[in-house]
C-alpha cells in the first residue's frame, strides 16, 4: 500500500502498526529508564482507534473511577497520547486525524516521539516538586523557541507547563539518543537540563 492509498480511518492493521512502534520505542529506552517507569507504574500502554476523551473515560469508569468532567473529556479528545495516572497506563490514539496520510518514516518517528513524550510526562507528574510546577512559566521562557511556541500554542494551562516541558525535552533527548548523541545539547538551557535529569533520571 502506498502512502496515498493509506486509509484516513485506521483499522486493526493501523493499531498493530502503532503498537509495534510503541513497543520498539519502549525497548529503545535506556534500561534504567524502563526500570524507573516500571517503578512508578508507567510501563503499560494501550493503542486505541477513537478519541482519547471517550476511550479514557470508559477505561476509568470500567475500573471504578469517576467519569471525566465534560471539559477534561473534550480537551482529551484532541490529544494524540496521554498518561492516565490512576490506571497506570499510556493510551495512544492511532487514528488521530493529524496522523492521517503520513509516510512510514514520519509516522514511526512521531508515534515513537509521542510515546517518549508520555513516558517523560509520567515521570514528571510523579517526581516533580510543587516548586518545579510553580516555576513552569519561567522555565518555558528558557526553552528553545520552537518548543516554547509549540507548548504555548497547544492550549495547556500554565500549571501544565513544567510537565509538558519535561515531556518534550525527554522526547528530544531520546531522539538524540537514537542518533547516538549524548550529553547536554547546546540548544538546551542548563536549568531545564538539570530539571529533566533530576526528574527522569537522564544521565548520559
Amino acid at each position: 500500500m502506498t502512502d496515498s492509498e493509506r486509509p484516513a480511518q485506521p483499522g486493526a492493521s493501523e493499531i498493530e502498526r502503532a503498537e509495534r512502534v510503541v513497543r520498539l520505542a519502549w525497548l529503545s529506552l535506556p534500561a534504567p529508564h524502563r526500570a524507573l517507569l516500571e517503578a512508578i507504574g508507567a510501563a503499560q500502554w494501550q493503542i486505541v482507534d477513537r478519541s482519547l476523551g471517550t476511550a479514557v473515560d470508559e477505561l476509568l469508569v470500567s475500573a471504578g473511577h469517576p467519569a471525566l468532567p465534560p471539559r477534561a473529556r473534550r480537551e482529551l479528545d484532541l490529544a494524540l497520547g496521554v498518561w492516565v495516572q490512576e490506571l497506570r497506563i499510556i493510551v495512544v490514539h492511532a487514528g488521530h486525524p493529524k496522523l492521517a496520510g503520513l509516510d512510514d518514516a514520519t509516522y514511526e518517528a512521531f508515534i515513537a516521539r509521542t510515546a517518549w513524550h508520555e513516558w517523560g510526562h509520567a515521570l514528571s507528574v510523579v517526581r516533580c516538586t510543587p516548586e518545579d510546577i510553580a516555576a513552569g512559566h519561567r522555565m518555558l521562557d528558557l526553552a528553545p523557541p520552537g518548543i516554547r511556541e509549540g507548548i504555548r500554542n497547544a492550549g495547556y494551562r500554565s500549571s501544565d507547563y513544567t510537565h509538558e516541558l519535561v515531556a518534550e525535552t525527554y522526547a528530544l533527548l531520546m531522539a538524540r539518543h537514537r542518533r547516538k548523541a549524548s550529553g547536554r545539547p547546546l540548544w538546551l538551557n542548563n536549568e531545564i537540563y538539570n530539571l529533566v535529569t533530576r526528574v527522569t533520571g537522564w544521565s548520559d
Binding site: 503498537e19 513497543r23 520498539l24 520505542a25 519502549w26 525497548l27 529503545s28 516500571e38 510501563a43 503499560q44 500502554w45 482519547l52 471504578g64 473511577h65 469517576p66 471525566l68 477534561a72 480537551e75 482529551l76 484532541l78 490529544a79 494524540l80 497520547g81 496521554v82 498518561w83 492516565v84 495516572q85 490512576e86 493529524k98 496522523l99 503520513l102 518514516a105 514520519t106 514511526e108 518517528a109 512521531f110 515513537a112 509521542t114 513524550h117 508520555e118 510526562h121 520552537g146 518548543i147 509549540g150 500554542n153 497547544a154 492550549g155 495547556y156 510537565h163 509538558e164 515531556a167 528530544l172 531522539a175 538524540r176 537514537r178 542518533r179 548523541a181 545539547p185 547546546l186 540548544w187
Partner: protein
C-alpha cells in the same frame, strides 16, 4: 475512588502539523551537526514484549 486530577494529553496546536513538530526537532538536531533523518528501530524480534 477519588480523582487525582484529570489527565492531560499530548496535544498539538490547531494549525500545527506532525511535520511541523518534527521540523522543530530536526532544526535542533541539525544545529549540533546531527543528521535529523529518522534512523528507524532495530527490531529485536517479533511479538509483544510489553511487560505484563
Amino acid at each position: 475512588m477519588e480523582r487525582l486530577s484529570s489527565p492531560v494529553g499530548y496535544t498539538l496546536g490547531e494549525n500545527q502539523r506532525v511535520q511541523d513538530v518534527l521540523a522543530v526537532e530536526a532544526e535542533l538536531l541539525r544545529s549540533e551537526g546531527i543528521d535529523p533523518a529518522w534512523p528507524g528501530f532495530d527490531e529485536p524480534g517479533k511479538g509483544n514484549t510489553q511487560p505484563q
